[in-house]
Symmetry: C2
Subunit: 423 residues, 2 copies
Amino acid sequence: MEIDQDIKFYVDAVALDASKASSVISIASSEQKSLCLKSIAEDIDQSRGLIREANALDLDNARQGELESALLERLSLDESSIDKIVEGLYQVDLLGDPIGEISGLNYQDSGIQVGRMRVPLGVIAMIYESRPNVTIDAASLAIKTGNAVILRGGSESFFSNKQLAISIKNGLIKAKLPEACVQLINTTDRQAVGALLQKDDLIDVVIPRGGKGLIERVCNETKISVIKHLDGICHVYVDKEVDVDMAISVTFNSKSEKYGVCNAMETLLVHRDVAQPVLSELSSLFAEKGVELRCCPEARIICPSSKPVEDVDWSTEYLGPVLSIKVLDSLDEAIDHINNYGSHHTDVICTSSYESSRKFIRSVDSASVMVNSSSQFADGFEYGLGAEIGISTDKLHARGPVGLEGLTSEKYVVFGNGEVRRR
Amino acid sequence: MEIDQDIKFYVDAVALDASKASSVISIASSEQKSLCLKSIAEDIDQSRGLIREANALDLDNARQGELESALLERLSLDESSIDKIVEGLYQVDLLGDPIGEISGLNYQDSGIQVGRMRVPLGVIAMIYESRPNVTIDAASLAIKTGNAVILRGGSESFFSNKQLAISIKNGLIKAKLPEACVQLINTTDRQAVGALLQKDDLIDVVIPRGGKGLIERVCNETKISVIKHLDGICHVYVDKEVDVDMAISVTFNSKSEKYGVCNAMETLLVHRDVAQPVLSELSSLFAEKGVELRCCPEARIICPSSKPVEDVDWSTEYLGPVLSIKVLDSLDEAIDHINNYGSHHTDVICTSSYESSRKFIRSVDSASVMVNSSSQFADGFEYGLGAEIGISTDKLHARGPVGLEGLTSEKYVVFGNGEVRRR
């Protein structure tokens, strides 16, 4: 697709400015970055009126466009969501500065001392949909990690994002950092995304956040590295040796704590030996919650009000109150099922067997592999990362919940006394 | 380009077999992998005759095709290079098994314990040119890290590679590992490379090794992650406060220890205050070695037999006895020059100033940043990695010399006692 020249020129300039700004913020002091984050928080706190006015404009437009109520909810910035944004900034500020950390600095036989220093990636492009809070999340994590960031929010939250960007700019100015450290794309034209995705010479990583369509578009259109996850088809496997009550509690929470999240269980695998007690209790618990069960023939006998499962169910992410269930004969069968049909996101075993736990942990090829814990724990905050920019199901670079570390890389540093190489 | 159907079917089958084999070798025991490596070493040791016969065929073909003598040298397997291959296998065997290592296992407030486990990437495709020893290097590192590997060697080393692959197969069989853990593409048709690069559903990473043309082709044709480096435009900057003798020794070694390597210095930057003593001594040292100097006007006055430098020189990787030289006024100017013209590979400061060393280390955006050490130390073995599959100038995943760790990733592991999430 040919991109409009004006948009191309604009995006080229944005990317070039980001690249220049990145070389400044990459070596900014911890104090300077902290001042910036606190200043943004204060500015947002003092601009609540303006933010809510801008948000009201977005909400009006959205209502005219007949957006779904779930989308309206995500879009809306009430006092409590502004509180959370401000609080989030202070939380990121309190995290340790990851940049400049040197690890593994060891002397080698030649006399040189070799270690690794954590450094920013450079320029991040963040492409996201309706939630305006992502604007501040992404900006704060980028600033903390010394990266420049280009933000391309959804058109639905255009005015809210624009107002939030003013607070970000004010914070950057106060900390004497270049304004181009955080830039918001000022057009809702979709061609701007295409133009961004072509800037592989200046942008180091793209992080898309939103529906599968957006993420697939980004991956197809760019040569830049992408931090992403596509599906969360998570499993709980209930082993034959197990505390049945614990297994029921973990399984129920893995599905029902929240339905529309990527770390919710979509398929339950149960060993035949415990299928009766586990499924009979769960089928009534899930019935109360209105969760539709889609069962293999054997599970259907225990869950009479269930529907028959179809092959396509095993590779479906419902993101809602639906669960597929399979009874099987062994741990090996469960591991094969998960590695074949899963999305390598988060998978759980409930077991009281030491051997089963070790085998499951080693053999399941997923970003998070758990024993006796709810799949819904797969989250940057629950993992102690202090922040989360997304969850990656890729294997290279970041895998699983991505916190500050995922926005950094490590370079080698070498200290010598004039050593030379002889070969 | 339309790929021949037979080649496509063949490569599809190879990739599928690799994927199946990867799930077996990913959980192989350290003992099994060790037995495999030792068996390959023994088999090669006992097949010297066959290997040299196969290599003689390749050399004959190469001579008919009028290959350059440097290429012939790389292609040739004499007794001492077979010794090195065998020795290399035993060395990789002696390295610790990185797979399964769990780090940072910490309890969280919720009660769950979260850590990271090092795991294989899955399936690696290695695409390389004339050196047949890469066949064994790549196979041994893949086996050690529990990955399956598909090898596509250069057509010049076809028969040598084929013979070496027999020893690999024998080793895999002895260790009861699937033969498809290491597969050599059995055709020299270039379409096989194209077909491999399309298997992004089954191949996790591609590692091209060879000329820039090969690496660019790979990057342009694939959606699979690539571990690569394109250029090594390395700099030495001699600061104003410096031990002049040390600086001369480091600079001379950075250029002249070897010319055709990616970690050789291509540009020398010298502070004006020390230009006279540093350059007058170096110009006679380099003259003895026949190194051509291309100098900025100020440096030319000190190095009278030099040529004038042109702008294009600052971004040229000579890979030979040529050096560009610039005199400048400050550390900042040197850092700007390196970050603008360099290839983010390896850059060195020679200084006796604490402040300069710290600023250089923090500000230069390269895979290896060094103080008072020869750039030619940028190497997996010299860094204590025990092995090297290549050097990456990318920022994501692996950066700098890539050893065993670059062929692995980390998944999260979570251990609980039935904890559930409440939000």
